[in-house]
């Protein structure tokens, strides 16, 4: 009996031991034990890069997609249910919360960057540390730049919250000056600390952000801020969060010239080899590209200054954003006819977002009749075999498609007579590129990187800031065009042609102050809705009025405004009158 009581007593004592309740996570680390090493630090920085891809899982709500559709060069398009595409073109809304995923993903990148920057001192190697810190500063600035251009006054989060109660409160919106001051200060620091290694010799590895990218982004930020807000310099924020200095045009130009001279980046010989349709598989059966030099594979292209990278290993579960969903969204809606995509070869199936405005096609022809870049950039669907309008209820269809970022097919099997039989939904699924020749999901198999800053953009920015046509003429010469002398019109046209569909047009027309006229110019263009010919019409209050009302800023996610209990205020112009119900014929 005693013995049993003894056992019982021991058991009771054992229980009181707190250690019994200690547990350890064996799949995650925690802020108590991480980061401890340089490898940890690199992982943290990689975690920041990962947020470049995240929003692309919902690509219709991202900066690039919105910029393309909102610009004058493209319509909304999609099927009749894709009102979310159409509203971007008309600056209306169906759902005020649509940008929630983008907003969250960008801020999650910012949060990760804030945490990484606070912990990078654990990297012992100074060169590597400076490189990684510069990359992180660049990315944080890049995220803020997209947010501030899209949403105007956004909250400025510069460090990780320390308590839960702090995080339950909504931080106030910062002024544009503060946000730009923070961006400029970050990029300036990045430029000053990053090692001056050539684009393909980066100390943290190829594919990482370079000092040159930071110089280019700074120029892009400068141009937008000074143009849109009518200023002559960028503000600079100090460590205490106060705007105490400024960053001049001269400094920005110095940076660009440093980039041009020292980055090792250069223009490729043939403009067409920048775009995936010249890949070795697709071009075999594509007469237009047959004789063009082959597409320069991602990661080896000297013209890429900064790109968002995609992978072969995207999956539906969590990593949709690793596939280039823009290529799917901007691709051609299917009608069900078996030969549709052979007729449109090598441009594949997708959701039909962003039909190209016929005005771009025509104005380009008028302004620069000999420019080969027009055919290199735009597919005229009406010239293809059996082109039928209204596939799968396509709206705002123009028949013109961007050839740059679009599902790109390739021949998979051939008939005995040598004609194509089956097609790859994406040429990258072939063994000639990254695939195994089998797995080829038409929605996921797109993996060509998205150019964010090309070297030709750097050259054009330098010309624009200096008023000197030399660099602009390098771009023209590469296209096979004669040189011109500098004028604002020449520069603006050059940007429109050279950088068509690359996400810059929208911010260009906003900063040049020509957005209202440019947008209104879309009215009257020939389009087809569900296969019925009509012309583009003003929807809601109309292009001009909507631009006046919004200045091109998009709505802040409504759920965030609701959650803030009045701390956040919605951008002007996004009241109930901007609700889009259906296309007004």
């Amino acid at each position: 009996m005693k013995k049993i009581l003894y056992i019982a007593a021991t058991a009771l004592l054992f229980m009181s031991c707190e250690n019994y309740l200690d547990t350890e996570s064996y799949t995650k680390k925690n802020t108590g034990n991480y980061p401890q090493s340089a490898d940890d630090a690199i992982q943290m920085v990689t975690g920041v890069y990962a947020t470049l891809n995240k929003p692309i899982a919902n690509c219709a709500n991202t900066y690039y997609f919105a910029s393309e559709l909102a610009s004058d060069d493209r319509f909304g398009g999609g099927g009749e249910n894709d009102k979310d595409f159409q509203v971007l073109d008309h600056l209306l809304y169906t759902n005020l919360d649509r940008f929630k995923t983008f907003w969250s993903d960008r801020y999650s990148g910012i949060s990760r960057a804030n945490m990484a920057i606070a912990n990078l001192d654990k990297v012992a190697d100074e060169t590597l540390r400076n490189q990684l810190k510069g990359e992180t500063l660049f990315l944080r600035a890049f995220f803020y730049n997209e947010l501030v251009e899209m949403f105007g006054n956004v909250p400025l989060i510069t460090k990780v919250p320390s308590t839960v109660s702090e995080a339950q409160l909504y931080p106030k919106q910062a002024s544009a000056e503060e946000v730009y001051g923070f961006i400029a200060a970050g990029l300036k620091e990045a430029i000053s600390i990053m090692p001056a290694k050539k684009w393909n010799e980066t100390v943290s590895g190829n594919g990482h952000v370079t000092k040159w990218a930071a110089e280019a982004l700074l120029a892009r930020v400068f141009l937008f801020y000074t143009g849109f807000y009518q200023k002559d310099a960028l503000p600079l924020m100090d460590a205490d969060g106060k705007i105490t200095g400024s960053l001049t045009k001269a400094e920005v130009i110095t940076g660009l010239e440093d980039c041009i001279a020292n980055s090792g980046n250069s223009l490729v010989t043939d403009y067409r080899s920048l775009w995936p349709y010249t890949n070795t598989l697709s071009k075999k059966n594509y007469p237009y590209a047959k004789n063009a030099p082959a597409w320069i594979k991602d990661g080896t292209n000297p013209e890429t200054v900064f790109s968002i990278k995609f992978s072969h290993l995207a999956s539906w579960s969590t990593t949709t954003g690793y596939s280039n969903q823009y290529m799917l969204f901007f691709a051609i809606r299917g009608s069900g006819s078996a030969n549709q995509y052979k007729n449109l070869y090598p441009f594949g199936q997708g959701w039909g977002a962003g039909p190209v405005s016929p005005k771009l096609w025509n104005e380009w022809k008028t302004a620069e009749p000999l420019d080969p870049r027009r055919d290199a950039s735009i597919l005229d669907g009406s010239k293809t075999n059996d082109y039928t309008y209204g596939a799968d209820k396509q709206m705002e269809e123009s028949g013109y498609y961007s050839k740059k970022v679009i599902a790109t097919t390739g021949a998979k099997t051939y008939n005995t007579d040598g004609t194509m039989n089956a097609l790859f939904n994406s040429f990258t699924s072939s063994t000639e590129y990254y695939g195994d020749g089998a797995a080829d999901d038409f929605q996921l198999a797109h993996e060509v990187d998205l150019n964010v800053i090309r070297f030709s953009d750097v050259l054009l920015m330098q010309s624009e800031l200096t008023g000197n046509a030399d660099n602009m003429n390098k771009v023209r010469t590469r296209a096979g065009l004669p040189t011109v002398s500098y004028s604002a019109t020449a520069l603006r046209n050059e940007r429109r042609w050279e950088l068509a569909f690359e996400g810059t047009r929208w911010s260009d027309i906003r900063r040049w102050g020509i957005a209202k006229e440019a947008l209104s110019n879309q009215v009257g263009a020939d389009i087809w809705n569900r296969g019925v010919a009509t012309t583009m019409k003003n929807q809601g209050a109309g292009y001009g009025a909507r631009y006046d009302a919004t200045k091109g800023f998009m709505p802040i996610p409504q759920s965030e405004i609701d959650l803030s209990s009045g701390v956040l205020t919605q951008n002007p112009g996004w009241d109930a009158s901007a609700l889009f119900v259906s296309w007004n014929e």
Partner: protein
């Protein structure tokens, strides 16, 4: 003791007489262990193995009292008799019976909490696969709803209203071991189920009792004759109701009408469809494909075989049980929904040492093993629901081609199909993919061993060790198929996974029952418990390119032949482990069995919280007063036999959150890396802080006040139990959204309160007239649920969009001031009938025209905006009802059971109205608006992007009130006819399950536990797997 012996021996000298007899039960079987006492004395004896007794009583003895647990006590006047045989009647709702109360039992009449006990017999007679569905009609205040009608799917069990957005399942305690799975049992394994509803009753399990506690006691051996029984049934299942789909012609006319309404030319069917197909539709020789019918597995069999053996002597007792149950699903052809379950149970108890009148050392064990296999069709959201795809399938598409193969893309091309390129064969979509080709095998062992030491009478030390093991494997095959333009799988995939885990518990209790001054009775208990769980692991693997394409039986990862590395995948992870340590105590007191009181205190420490926040303390108290024991109640004795008033108050805890919420964890998943390299195959791992740490996170507390009474009238024929309660869950563990600008996932915070208020009434009647016995019970529960706090500025936890259809907005939410998970959307006020009405309505969408819905401007700002959305439905019933009726006459018995629920709404959409205009309709669409006066409910046909269909509005909401007759069973015991057969029972029965449903709901089944991906939502019907209508025959044999 010595004194007692002296007394007994002293009596031997008084004048004595001997009474003998036999005690039997209703079936004539002997009842060993029946206590027989001379009323008013301590003289008594218990019956032997054969139910016989021989008792020497004083000649003055007037009355004998026969009592046995679970049977009605009987008093027999001795008179001059020397042979008194008694037939004991089982006490269906008797007050002498004991109820399980957690770490012990208590006489029901002394219980001061709100509990329900359902005996195993009452579960078994429902002939259900699952014990929970048998409980449905018998447990007021316990809302049990199937989460799907597919075989082997589970139930949502909510006790007294939903109290959290987190885990809301009650705690199951199987034979004293917390945390088991009731689905692992055949109903024939179960002795009784006790549901502890109020906080005071559940408080002894404080830490995890916030959602109530269900105590399951498996059958134990009894001393006496060896008892062998066999219970079996076989049944066939049918669909109770199939939806009426449009046929080919009707479909074509609806499609054309949509085109017409939008000023588009109607379809040129002759050119869009293959010629022969078009002709056969036009000449009426083919009606089109009814996909639901194609998939219907008519007369799907179900069966159950259960063997039980029990026996023992006064030293050792045992009970064995083996069972096999199988059920085929009524939908899913040509693949099968199929569930098979095997169970085995071995329980034994052994007395090692005993004194004359009590056991000093006892040991025993329980062992329950369950193995089940399950394969089914997809029953998830609109992106993964086979039935939804059957409902939306295009009726113009043939199911099979001329060769008997699935009609697929190649057939479409070959036949010249030029209509919707994206439409595919939904049968093939399930039968050739992992939606239909899957098999899971689950193994579960629940076992325990105990040691009980009683050094002095009524002082019991009990130590129990429990061990649970669960393991499962899963295999699926996603085959090559080309069904439509966008369903073209060229590379097949085999996926396998396996997991196993363990859980141990160790409980020690010390209890003492004693009397002070004879009339103050105490029953006190102190104890300690520790538990560790999640000691397990998961592994998974997948491979592409099977060497045996199309053959599920050959679908193993070893049989795949990957051509590149990325075609093989593998994963492995540990189970999240945790631990709980607890101390508890309880004191039950009564004075003359009239004034009752109970106090409980439990302290729990959970590994889910940071040091310093781990311990939670959960007190409770309750009191009762048996009024009918008072002398002033004598006047009511004639009709009121028993009346006990009860009151209880207590707090329970809930710690069901993910571990490590108190730490800012750094995650390294593959979705957060980056592909820097040029090869697009090499990922650099990324690390990131995934949640904001909340070091302050602590217990969720549920506090409940319960007032009630138990009463019996008219010689105990009528019983009435009533409870009123108010239950507040405080410091709800919730992941309340934080501003996205912080860039971190929200942590679990103690950030919400919710209140459930309601009452329960249970009424029953039992009587007999000669050989005719009859009884019935009605129970009803009412509950009102309201969220009272959510810790963010907005006070809302948002629900999901894209639920009823892609392209629709949030349709349910948790919000302060509303019931949890209420349906959120626009109210409508009919359909615009004509242009005048449109023009005279101020608040409308631009472009509104006759035939469009009239949305209600609830905020009165003269416009229709998102702010006009409001509550359009509540998935939680206001009232639930249970009905039971039983009659028996001689060998015949008839049982009828029904359930009902009232006041809840269902959100139903059998097609993606908002984004897929070419999907099929049910014939309800004939009720659409086609011109003035035709309809004031459904708008005109448009392609779906129109707000009429795209807005979540009350046109998708229906009342879900229903009464289901769950079970009608008629049985006859042939023992009554053939008295000499060597069986003690030979009952044959026929049963009809789910025979009638009275409901206004238009869908297939109004009992819908499905709530998208959230546990706190229900009543969403996207093509819900309906529960079958079953006809069965069965037999119960007892040897």
């Amino acid at each position: 003791m010595v004194l007692l012996m002296v007394m007994l021996s002293g009596m031997a000298f008084a004048q004595q007489k001997t009474i003998t007899g036999k005690v039997t039960d209703e079936t004539g079987a002997p009842v060993p262990g029946t206590t027989i006492i001379v009323k008013g004395t301590t003289t008594g004896i218990v019956t032997d193995m054969d139910g016989n007794y021989s008792l020497s009583v004083p000649a003055t003895a007037k009355t004998l009292v026969f009592s046995f647990v679970g049977m009605t006590s009987q008093e027999v006047i001795v008179g001059t008799q020397t042979n008194i045989s008694v037939k004991m009647l089982s006490e269906s709702i008797g007050l002498e019976e004991v109820v399980a109360i957690g770490y012990g039992v208590q006489k029901k009449k002394l219980n001061t909490g709100a509990t329900v006990q359902v005996s195993g017999d009452n579960l078994q007679k429902m002939s259900t696969t699952n014990a929970l569905s048998a409980l449905q009609s018998q447990s007021p205040g316990v809302e049990i709803t199937q989460s799907s009608g597919q075989p082997g799917e589970g139930f949502k069990v909510t006790i007294r209203g939903l109290g959290t957005v987190g885990s809301s399942a009650p705690l199951y305690v199987i034979d004293g071991v917390a945390g088991g799975d009731i689905n692992a049992f055949n109903t024939s394994d179960i002795e009784s189920v006790d549901v502890l509803k109020d906080a005071a009753s559940a408080a002894i399990y404080g830490a995890r009792a916030a959602n109530g506690v269900v105590l399951v006691t498996t059958k134990k051996g009894k001393a006496g004759k060896l008892q062998l029984s066999y219970d079996g049934y076989y049944g066939v299942q049918y669909a109770a109701k199939m939806p009426a789909m449009l046929n080919a012609k009707e479909y074509m006319s609806m499609m054309d009408e949509t085109r017409f309404n939008e000023a588009n030319p109607t379809y040129d069917w002759a050119n869009l469809l293959p010629t022969s197909l078009y002709n056969s539709v036009m000449d009426g020789s083919w009606q089109g494909t009814n996909w639901m019918k194609e998939s219907y597995n008519e007369a799907a069999p179900t069966q159950n075989q259960a063997f039980n053996l029990a026996g023992g002597n006064d030293q050792s007792k045992f009970a064995l049980g083996f069972s096999y149950t199988s059920q085929e699903g009524i939908l899913g052809k040509p693949v099968q929904s199929q569930y098979d379950r095997y169970t085995a149970r071995i329980n034994s108890d052994h007395v090692i040492l005993k004194t004359k009148d009590f056991d000093v050392i006892k040991i025993g064990q329980t062992l329950n093993y369950n193995y089940n296999t399950k394969s089914g069709i997809a029953i998830g959201n609109i992106y993964g629901n086979s039935i939804h795809n059957l409902l939306t399938g295009n009726p113009l598409l043939p199911a099979y081609d001329a060769d008997g193969n699935f009609y697929d893309y190649n057939d479409k091309v070959a036949n010249g199909w030029n209509f919707d390129g994206n439409t595919g064969n939904p049968l093939a979509g399930t039968a050739l993919s992992n939606w239909g080709l899957n098999l899971s095998k689950n193994y579960a062992l629940q076992t325990s061993a105990y040691l009980e030491i009683q050094p002095i009478k009524n002082l019991v030390f009990r130590s129990q060790f429990g061990y649970k093991m669960t393991a499962s494997t899963y295999r699926s095959y996603d085959g090559i198929r080309h069904l439509s333009n966008n369903t073209n799988v060229t590379l097949d995939n085999v996926s396998q996974s396996a997991s196993s885990g363990h859980n141990t518990t160790f409980d020690n209790t010390l209890s003492y029952k004693f009397k002070v001054a004879d009339q103050h009775q105490f029953d006190v208990l102190v104890g300690q418990s520790i538990e560790k769980w999640g000691m397990g692991s998961n592994i998974s693997a997948s491979g592409n390119n099977s060497m045996f394409p199309g053959l599920f039986d050959y679908a193993w990862v070893d049989n795949t032949k990957p051509t590149v590395l990325s075609q093989r995948g593998a994963g492995g992870s540990p189970w999240g482990s945790g631990a709980l340590a607890s101390f508890f105590g309880r004191a039950n007191y009564n004075f003359k069995e009239t004034y009752l009181a109970s106090f409980t205190m439990r302290a729990d420490g959970s590994s889910n919280f940071a040091k310093g926040k781990r311990w939670g303390y959960f007190p409770s108290m309750s009191a009762g007063w048996v009024m009918t024991n008072e002398s002033f109640m004598e006047s009511t004795k004639s009709f009121l036999d028993f009346m006990k008033l009860r009151a209880s108050w207590g707090q329970n805890g809930n710690a069901a959150i993910n571990n490590f919420q108190y730490l800012s964890t750094i995650a390294f998943d593959t979705s957060n890396g980056y592909y820097f390299s040029a090869d697009k195959l090499t990922q650099t791992v990324g690390g990131y802080a995934d949640i904001l740490a909340n070091p302050d996170v602590k217990w969720e507390t549920s506090e409940q006040l319960d007032l009630g009474f138990d009463s019996r009238f008219l010689n105990s024929r009528l019983g009435l139990t009533f409870d009123w309660y108010t239950k507040t869950t405080k410091n709800w563990l919730v992941t309340a959204p934080i501003p996205a600008v912080w860039g971190l996932n929200a942590p679990s915070v103690n950030g919400g309160d919710i209140q459930n208020k309601g009452f329960e009434i249970a009424l029953n009647w039992n009587d007999r007239a000669g050989d005719f016995q009859y009884g019935g019970s009605v129970n009803m529960a009412h509950n009102v649920n309201e969220v009272t706090r959510i810790a963010n500025a907005e006070g809302i936890i948002h629900g999901d969009g894209n639920v009823l259809s892609q392209g629709t907005t949030e349709m349910y939410r948790a919000q302060v001031g509303f019931p949890i998970g209420y349906f959120y959307g626009y109210k409508t006020a009919g359909v615009f009938q004509n242009l005048d009405q449109v023009n005279n309505t101020a608040a409308k969408y631009a472009g509104a025209q006759p035939g469009d819905l009239i949305f209600v401007d609830t905020d009165g700002d003269g416009k229709i905006t998102e702010d006009d959305r409001t509550m359009i439905g509540n998935p939680h019933p206001d009232f639930t009802l249970g009905l039971n009726l039983n009659l028996s006459y001689k060998g015949f018995d008839l049982n009828i059971a029904g359930t009902g629920a009232f006041g809840q709404q269902i959100a139903k959409s059998y097609r993606s109205f908002a984004d897929s205009p070419l999907q099929n309709y049910t014939t309800e669409i004939f009720g659409r608006w086609t011109g003035e006066g035709t309809s004031n409910k459904l708008p005109r046909l448009t392609s779906g992007s129109n707000v009429n269909w795209q807005n979540i509005s009350d046109i998708y909401i229906e009342d879900g009130d229903y009464v289901k007759i769950q079970n009608i069973t008629l049985g006859y015991d042939f023992k009554k006819l053939f008295k000499n057969m060597p069986l003690s029972q030979a009952r044959f029965f026929v049963t009809g399950q789910n025979l009638f449903t009275i409901t206004g709901y238009s869908g297939m089944d109004p009992e819908i536990g499905y709530g998208y991906d959230k546990s706190w939502v229900s009543g969403i019907d996207l093509g819900y797997y309906p529960s079958p209508r079953t006809y069965m025959v069965g037999v119960n044999l007892k040897f």
